[in-house]
């Protein structure tokens, strides 16, 4: 399934600039809590390969086996319904159902096992046209470009690369230029890539505040620093506070 053509997303430029692989997106859904994936999001993600993870979190006093005995059929049914929506949008979907005590451990494990490019943290969304890419640290420009270029190839959406200068050694402007270059190389038209750079001491809050202007946020994973230990991962904080869904680009493993 990973070997087929890049499908509708494949840009038509010279082979050297072709996307190296169809990006793979992990979509975790808390199925038994009635969480689902909106049609707009399904359409937006359809150019990528999707791994649909239906999970159910249990308190520690409940053996996972016990819950699975009782709820497995319901969880499978709910996941299959969502998978059907993706299939109708033209993509085969890999589905997994997991009963767990620890959501983050499960998402991390499945993301690593399936070697996904990005993990979706779902939030409601209308039609996807504007994508915000906040850049506040070293980011894997290749992976980011593969993901954004593929997802936007067939739509008319635009991407905003927003360098956030936190006053450290990180050169936000240069990183934005690099990312823009890579996106153009991947075949995105120049008028669909906007760039801007601004300063902020609290990048996560700044992103949340601007989130209503955009439909999807794509950001990099950040390493464990003191602040994320205290407040949680910035991407998760953004996902909780923002109006838009967040795609977290994972660092390449190995």
């Amino acid at each position: 399934m990973a070997d087929d053509d890049t499908g509708p997303a494949s840009p038509t430029e010279s082979p050297a600039l072709r996307i190296r692989e169809p990006p793979k997106v992990l979509v975790p859904v808390e199925v038994l809590e009635g969480q689902s994936v909106s049609t707009q999001l399904v359409e937006f993600l359809a150019p990528a390969e999707v791994v649909l993870l239906g999970y159910h979190v249990l308190p520690e006093q409940t053996p996972t086996e016990q819950a699975s005995m009782q709820f497995e059929d319901r969880a499978r049914g709910a996941v299959d319904d969502i998978a059907e929506a993706f299939r109708e949008a033209g993509r085969e979907v890999e589905t997994r159902v997991v009963f767990t005590h620890d959501r983050d451990a499960t998402v991390d494990r499945v993301a690593a096992e399936a070697d996904v490019t990005a993990v979706l943290l779902p939030n409601p969304v209308a039609d996807v046209a504007d994508v915000l890419v906040p850049i506040r640290g070293a980011i894997d420009a290749g992976r980011l470009a593969d993901l954004v270029a593929t997802l936007l190839a067939d739509s008319r959406g635009a991407v905003t690369l927003w360098g956030i200068d936190t006053g450290g050694e990180f050169d936000a402007a240069a990183a934005v230029d690099r990312a823009r270059g890579t996106l153009l190389d991947r075949g995105l038209a120049a008028d669909r890539v906007r760039t801007e750079v601004s300063e902020s001491d609290a990048p996560a809050r700044a992103v949340i505040e601007r989130s209503p202007e955009f439909d999807v946020i794509v950001m990099g994973e950040s390493g464990p620093d003191l602040l994320s230990l205290l407040l949680g991962d910035p991407a998760e904080r953004v996902a909780e506070g923002a109006v838009a869904p967040v795609l977290v680009v994972r660092e390449r493993s190995g």
């Binding site: 053996p63 996972t64 016990q66 499978r76």
Partner: protein
């Protein structure tokens, strides 16, 4: 996978159900339908479950009682208990790596020896843990009462220990019913804090007992009541070691069970054994066994006061509260898992393993733990509660050893443990003999209650699930 003997129905027409496939690898188990069950307890978490369940009684309840019965030889009683616990922990580890399933001891016995011994063990473990939990709660009540007394609250002769124990037992059950998000993390911290308090206390007390500071104390005869008293006391204090098998009841949640299960079980027995023997040594060196005995269930607080004054006493009181709560909570959780394992195999109505979708907790199984616990707490008989709990566990431990012998003799095709007990016949043989033998040294009252419970469970099996077959299947 041999499923041909997994059959038979109970009176309600239910037959044993298999959820997870026997094949396990690393971080997940896969069910028959292909869903994954995440394993999220690591080695430290496993050890914390073992130590957290075990560490309460031996240090915070028994020093006074045991010293009264055996004198300084009580340290020997704890050592005997540790040897027996290790002799059982080894076979249990091998079986757990071959069958890392919820239910632990019940699972091994029912698969190796058949449904009748399985039912007796499974139901006895449920009730044994109920007795153990009641015992931990009554101990908690003693500590809470002592702490209040320390704070200057006067009771005027009210039955405050039982009231506090009942209140807290109800609270723990309710918390578990509503779902405790970070129970495991909290348990790790509680155990860490507890170990710190104890190591400081034992470090200072040990140096003192060896005569490093202060005056040499009057030497006392090691066995003032003879060697037999050491063995009968071992039977009483064996309750202190009723925790390592609880690690096996959460086997389905432990990462990399082939490595972590044996390490957690054997490691937690080793850790608490050292602490217990050291505590008794320190306690009997600080006071004569007569005065220790007179202090009763909170004797160790007086020992701490002798070393560290008011601060020492408060630290140990705090430790006692943490330890008894952690043991009681771990036991309530294990009880509900034991009920689940038995109900999954159709030996109890399937309703007993229902999970409440709103809170995600096994509410029926938890109530089957919490309800009877409160009834027993009201009785308040510490020694009988402890011994009946020991009795029922010792029967299971003995049968676990027999189960290992049977498994090794038959070696079904699927039996492929990652850890094999060296000289298994000797270890399991000694473990079974010692476990069954220790029962003979208990008080008559506990033997009668324990025996009656076992007969009742066998009767239930004959009445309810006589057709259910479990031997030799996964």
């Amino acid at each position: 996978m041999s499923t041909e003997t997994r059959e038979g129905t109970n009176r309600d027409g239910e037959s044993p159900e298999q959820v997870a496939l026997p094949a396990t690898e690393g971080e997940t188990t896969v069910t028959e339908e292909g869903s994954e069950l995440e394993r999220s307890i690591g080695l430290v978490g496993g050890i914390a479950i073992g130590v957290g369940t075990m560490i309460g009684a031996g240090i915070f309840v028994f020093p006074g009682l045991a010293a009264g019965r055996a004198g300084p030889a009580a340290a020997g009683s704890f050592a005997i208990g540790a040897v027996i616990a290790l002799l059982v922990a080894l076979p249990a580890s091998e079986l757990a790596t071959a069958m890392p399933e919820s239910g632990g001891g019940y699972y091994f016995v029912s698969r190796a020896l058949g449904a009748l011994p399985g039912a007796v063990v499974g139901l006895s473990i449920w009730l044994g843990l109920v007795f153990a939990t009641a015992f931990y709660l009554v101990s908690f009540g003693s500590y809470a009462a002592a702490l209040l007394t320390e704070a200057g609250v006067a009771f005027g002769g009210a039955p405050v220990v039982e009231v506090l124990a009942l209140g807290f037992g109800g609270l723990l059950t309710a918390l578990n019913l509503l779902g405790t998000e970070n129970a495991t993390t909290l348990q790790n911290y509680v155990v860490g804090l507890l170990l710190t308090i104890l190591v400081l206390f034992l470090g200072y007390g040990g140096l003192d007992a060896l005569g490093v500071f202060g005056a040499e104390r009057t030497p006392e005869r090691f066995m003032p009541f003879g060697p037999l008293s050491m063995v009968t006391t071992a039977a009483l204090v064996f309750t202190s070691y009723l925790g390592f098998a609880q690690v096996a009841t959460v086997a389905g949640d432990i990462e990399n069970p082939g490595r972590n299960l044996p390490l957690a079980m054997i490691g937690s027995v080793a850790i608490v054994a050292v602490l217990y023997v050291a505590t008794i040594f320190v306690a009997t060196s600080a006071f004569g066994s007569d005065s220790l005995s007179a202090f009763g269930e909170t004797a160790i607080v007086e020992v701490a006061r002798a070393f560290g004054g008011g601060v020492g006493a408060l630290a140990i009181l705090l430790g006692g509260l943490l330890a008894t709560v952690s043991s009681a909570n771990a036991s309530i959780l294990s009880t509900s898992r034991a009920v689940f394992a038995v109900s999954k195999d159709a030996l109890l109505p399937r309703t007993a393993s229902r999970v409440n979708l709103r809170y995600g907790t096994p509410h029926v199984a938890l109530s089957m733990a919490g309800g009877p616990v409160l009834a027993l707490v009201a009785l308040g008989e510490v020694e009988v509660l402890a011994e009946v709990a020991s009795f029922l566990h010792l029967v299971m431990y003995g049968l676990i050893c027999v189960a290992l012998l049977a498994m090794r003799r038959d070696e079904p095709e699927w039996y492929d443990p990652e850890f094999r007990v060296p000289a298994h016949r000797l270890v399991a043989g000694l473990g079974a003999t010692a476990s069954f033998g220790l029962i003979a040294f208990m008080q008559r009252e506990s033997q009668v209650v324990g025996g009656a419970i076992m007969l009742a469970t066998a009767g239930w099996y004959k009445y309810y699930a006589a057709d259910v077959q479990l031997k030799g299947v996964l």
